[in-house]
Chain length 461, copies 2
């Protein structure tokens, strides 16, 4: 009896398992789970990021390298079987190219400093400038100085970036510091890098000049060099620095967004948009910022395209150009695609490094859309929690989001992001397979379910 | 009863404690323990290393900066109350000064490489050289090539340094690689940095040229850049690199050892020698290599000098010059002090970073000297274990040790040493107070007990 009962139970079990399996295979959730597994098993995102950063290297906005990267991406999208692949070019006004950049303390004790020009900085004269510094431990301390008070000096701001990313302050030091220093008479501006590492590498990043104020050369010091100047200024008066920067302003240059689609089978006009940016700063090879994102969204699109059945909606992957100098590609997309933005069901971007994705945040009107709960549930096995922040979806999604496109923000763990980004250290060896693989899994799950499920009421523009 | 007994016990305890304390104060062991505590409480070693690396910065052998550091050290020793302080100068034949150094892949995909010239490298022509590379994943693979086979190429060796420090191989790649490449016809030599980090910073270090072989420019690639070339060479043929190096050879320059003593009270002619080297490579500020060592031995000497009673033997602190280019200062000391080496009871050096000291190794004849057991016991509370390796005391102690001076090797934990040394990242922020403080404690304990206890039979020269 026991043996026969056992047999029956086994048979029943097998039948049930087969039934469950067959049902499960048909559900969006189980397909999403299979996609997540495949994203992790294949390490496809890492492979793409490795190929891009190796075969192209750095990809400064408007440069030959950025264009080569775009050509590379077109070729790769086609190889991966995307249905439509195209490029959309646009002008970028502030073309720029890094030159030599050296700095040294000349007095009281000659020593080299590690610096890098801020993106967009004007050059020094070829022979450099040499002047006494006026060191401020906070930007506020500099802003308190009256106009003209820094005449002939090199202004130095050594305020540290707060762990956790850009704040209003760290953003303002880089973007407004040079003009505010110049307004007070300074002839050059140095800031402690917006970075949280203590490596002897300076973080670049875009600066901008206010109109009608002299444009002065601007550079970032590595964190140890900023600390060195702090210590020197506590011990000596009249510290003098020599600074040589020879970047070139190139006027208007061309950048481009690369767009690729897996056409939807039931609602081809409805778009689920996955974004990342293809440009990078010029010092590293743009692995963390944003080769990882390129790998993540390209892999997510390809894996969905590889399914036996196409997705219901169209999956559109957009690799934006010229993000680093002011989200030019994202703005161009929102403007030039204004007519079809109403068809954008939801958009999200990977532009915060390798992950893992920690939270799913949303930027849309109907926060009770039942599809969101389905996505949240599907992300749970990956360790992604429901976030409480409102999200604009990512930097390049911002402009379309503010025109009404619903956004999901897959918020990534940025423990190393502000150590590496915008430095020469942003290279592929920093990316851990398990981290980027989880991110690719989270993005493919989100994109696939967004293509299969309903809802996502538009935000009010 | 209970209360009265309690009172008696308390009185007895107090009396005993006072007795123990008074006895303890008189013993070398208790004085050593007090010195260890003081080394840790005052953070003096870190303070000295901070002052040196801030006020002077990098200290390349034979440079103006190394001389400024020597002057600084003389002043500091005097301020700290050492009895005798002097400088001993010597010539260094291979004076050298770093120039510009840039490299880039020119084909198949233009991208910058992070390199640094090896110390002593000859320059490229001013406009640089551009050539196809011949990449070898091991030095042996390059050595297997016949003479003339690398004609017109840039030889690249991407063999990784083995974790744990210099091996015969990693030493040989840097010192012999350029000449072996040139022997086979190469016009320049690039090696993966001898370093265990994955930062985008190249490690310099001395190279040398064999006579009668063309001297070719030689540089180290950062580890990520060497890996990039590995990946590129797996994907493309005919990789071309452009290399610009403009170092200057300066001929014979002058370096110096700085020597300072706390004169012994009972056996002033007998010397306990503490060494470190004052020179550093030029990229960082020489905090780990060897500002930490300077702080440790200077602090140890000062703390002993501050005791109410002078040590029995003379404590001699020697800050060697020109270590990095071939232990020139250490050799000069052994040669010029040959007459008094017999009076050197024992010598030790701090030149492996910030510590902590993990093992006490010895290089002397009488391994059963009871004083050694006393020192070992005194080091135990600091976590220092008896080592099983034979020690020459440190690089600058080597030459005098081979002439018979007994050595103690306080072997330091080098987990970060080969990540940082010889790079621009070797700066004071990398030093943790608790680590260098323990090292200073171990050195002061060892030096003090060596001055108070007997023994240390000389090694056979």
């Amino acid at each position: 009896m026991q043996s026969r009962l056992h047999h029956h139970v086994l048979v029943l079990g097998t039948v049930l398992a087969a039934l469950v399996a067959s049902t499960a295979m048909a559900s969006p959730e189980s397909t999403a789970a299979a996609l997540a597994k495949k994203a992790q098993d294949t390490s496809l995102a890492l492979k793409i990021a490795t190929d891009l950063t190796t075969e192209i290297g750095a990809r400064l906005y408007g440069s030959e390298s950025e264009k080569r990267a775009a050509d590379w991406a077109v070729k790769r999208f086609k190889k991966y079987g995307f249905d439509k692949v195209w490029m959309e070019s646009f002008p970028v006004e502030r073309g720029w190219k890094r030159g030599l950049e050296t700095a040294s303390v000349t007095s009281p004790s000659p020593q080299n400093l590690v610096i890098t020009a801020l993106g967009g900085s004007v050059p020094t004269p070829e022979e450099g400038i040499e002047a006494e510094i006026a060191l401020f431990k906070t930007i506020d301390a500099m802003l308190e100085q009256p106009e003209g008070s820094l005449k002939g000096k090199i202004a130095v701001v050594t305020q540290a970036m707060v762990i956790g990313g850009y704040s209003k302050i760290s953003g303002a030091i880089r973007s407004k510091g040079p003009s505010e220093a110049a307004r007070r008479g300074a002839i050059a501006f140095l800031m402690r890098s917006a970075g949280t590492d203590n490596d002897r590498m300076a973080h670049t990043g875009g600066t901008s000049y206010l109109p009608e104020i002299p444009r002065i050369p601007a550079a970032a010091l590595s964190v140890p060099d900023a600390q060195q100047l702090d210590r020197l200024s506590e011990r000596f008066d009249n510290i003098r620095i020599k600074l040589v920067l020879t970047p070139e302003e190139l006027g208007t240059v061309t950048s481009q967004n690369v767009i690729a689609e897996i056409t939807g089978s039931e609602r081809p006009d409805e778009i689920v948009l996955l974004g990342a940016h293809l440009d990078s700063w010029d010092l590293g090879t743009g692995a963390i910022d944003d080769g990882a994102g390129v790998g993540i969204v390209m892999a997510a699109g390809k894996l969905i395209g590889d399914l036996p059945n196409p997705p219901k909606r169209t999956i559109r992957v957009v690799l934006f150009g010229a993000e680093e100098i002011g989200i030019i590609g994202g703005q161009f997309y929102a403007d030039s695609h204004a007519d079809e933005l109403a068809n954008h069901i939801v958009a999200t971007e990977a532009d915060a490094g390798q992950g893992p994705v920690q939270f799913m945040n949303i930027g849309l009107e109907n926060t009770l859309d039942p599809s969101l709960a389905t996505i949240r549930n599907a992300l749970q096995p990956l360790g992604v929690k429901a976030g409480r922040s409102k999200s604009s979806g990512g930097p390049d999604i911002g402009p379309m989001h503010s025109k009404g496109v619903p956004a999901i923000g897959l918020s990534m763990f940025t423990d190393d992001y502000f150590d590496l980004h915008h430095t020469s250290n942003d290279t592929i060896d920093k990316i851990k397979p398990e981290r980027i693989n989880q991110s690719a899994a989270a993005f493919v799950v989100t994109a696939y379910l967004a293509s299969e499920l309903g809802g996502y009421y538009r935000i009010q523009p």
